[in-house]
């Protein structure tokens, strides 16, 4: 009987430590539109596509060594979204010995024409809100997030 209780407690503990979220780490790219579209698409996943199942990590805060952000990144699966080939976000995660479960780079995800269109586009976030390319990126992030959430039996 005691061992059954122990087993149940163990199961509960395992369940408690099961990751509930996918962390999304997006490029912020203040000086170019690749950052804006990455950011807007990530916010769309967070608030419209998979609300309550994904969380956004503030990259500069995490780089500053903020305890809460660092703890999350260490313990939860993360997807990185990079706006250009410099791949700052992916590199920042790898620098702390963590491999993202998925990494998206806009320069590879979009076709050459689409990427060119993005990079020569507006920089303001609002200009990207309803853009089809933003939706395309957001859907891709959501699909990858859903795939991992499913693997974790979260959906």
């Amino acid at each position: 009987m005691k061992s059954l209780t122990d087993q149940m407690e163990k199961k509960v503990k395992i369940k408690m430590f099961k990751p509930k979220f996918i962390g999304l780490l997006s490029c912020s790219g203040e000086d170019f539109p690749g950052g804006s579209i990455s950011r807007v698409a990530t916010r769309k996943v967070l608030t419209e596509f998979l609300p309550g199942m994904t969380t956004a990590i503030c990259v500069p805060l995490f780089l500053n060594g903020n305890e809460q952000e660092t703890k999350f990144v260490k313990n939860f699966p993360c997807i990185t979204i990079d706006g250009c080939e410099k791949a700052c976000v992916k590199k920042s995660l790898e620098a702390m010995g963590k491999k993202p479960v998925e990494s998206i780079n806009l320069s590879e995800f979009f076709s050459k024409d689409e990427y060119k269109q993005i990079m020569s586009g507006p920089i303001h976030d609002l200009d990207w809100n309803d853009n089809p390319l933003t939706l395309k990126l957001a859907e891709h992030i959501a699909i990858l997030s859903a795939k991992h959430l499913k693997e974790m039996n979260m959906i």
């Binding site: 807007v40 608030t47 990259v59 500069p60």
Partner: protein, 150 residues
């Protein structure tokens, strides 16, 4: 030599990236506005790029003037500039602008789009930053400024 003179006529504007906070968005919008108003005197710097900082980027930070716009008290923008050898001429916490501009209440719950008032406020802040950029460049005479308005 010519290159050196050109470099010192630029003010870097480094906003918070704050993807989880409306004040991060506001800081971005204000920075966009300021740099759009005086593109020949200022430049936006990407905060995340401090991760993979190369010599070119370090030079941008060290050999120019810097204004930082921070969305929260963690002050990531200011810390990253200083950590990389830059001098911050003006450091602003966005909350200060909310207190100063109570007539423009922004929707802090909507991170992607904190609303029309946020757009107006960003323009107001952009105007102030434009003045600051001019002050830094006019008053500097090659010397880095000292005051920091938090």
């Amino acid at each position: 030599m010519t290159e050196d003179v050109e470099i010192k006529t630029i003010v870097n504007v480094v906003p918070c990236s704050g993807i989880g906070k409306a004040l991060g968005t506001l800081s971005r919008w204000a920075a966009f506005d300021a740099v759009e108003k005086c593109p020949e005197k200022s430049r936006l710097l990407c905060l995340s790029r401090f991760v993979v900082i190369d010599d070119e980027y370090k030079d941008f930070v060290r050999n120019n003037y810097n204004i930082t716009l921070d969305g929260c008290p963690e002050k990531c923008a200011t810390k990253h500039v200083e950590r990389n050898g830059g001098t911050v001429q003006k450091s602003h916490l966005m909350a200060k602008y909310l207190i100063k501009n109570r007539d423009l209440k922004i929707d802090v719950k909507n991170v992607s789009n904190p609303g029309e008032n946020a757009e107006k406020l960003a323009k107001r802040i952009g105007n102030e930053l434009e003045e600051e950029i001019d002050e830094i460049l006019d008053g500097s005479n090659g010397e880095k400024g000292e005051d920091k308005n938090v």
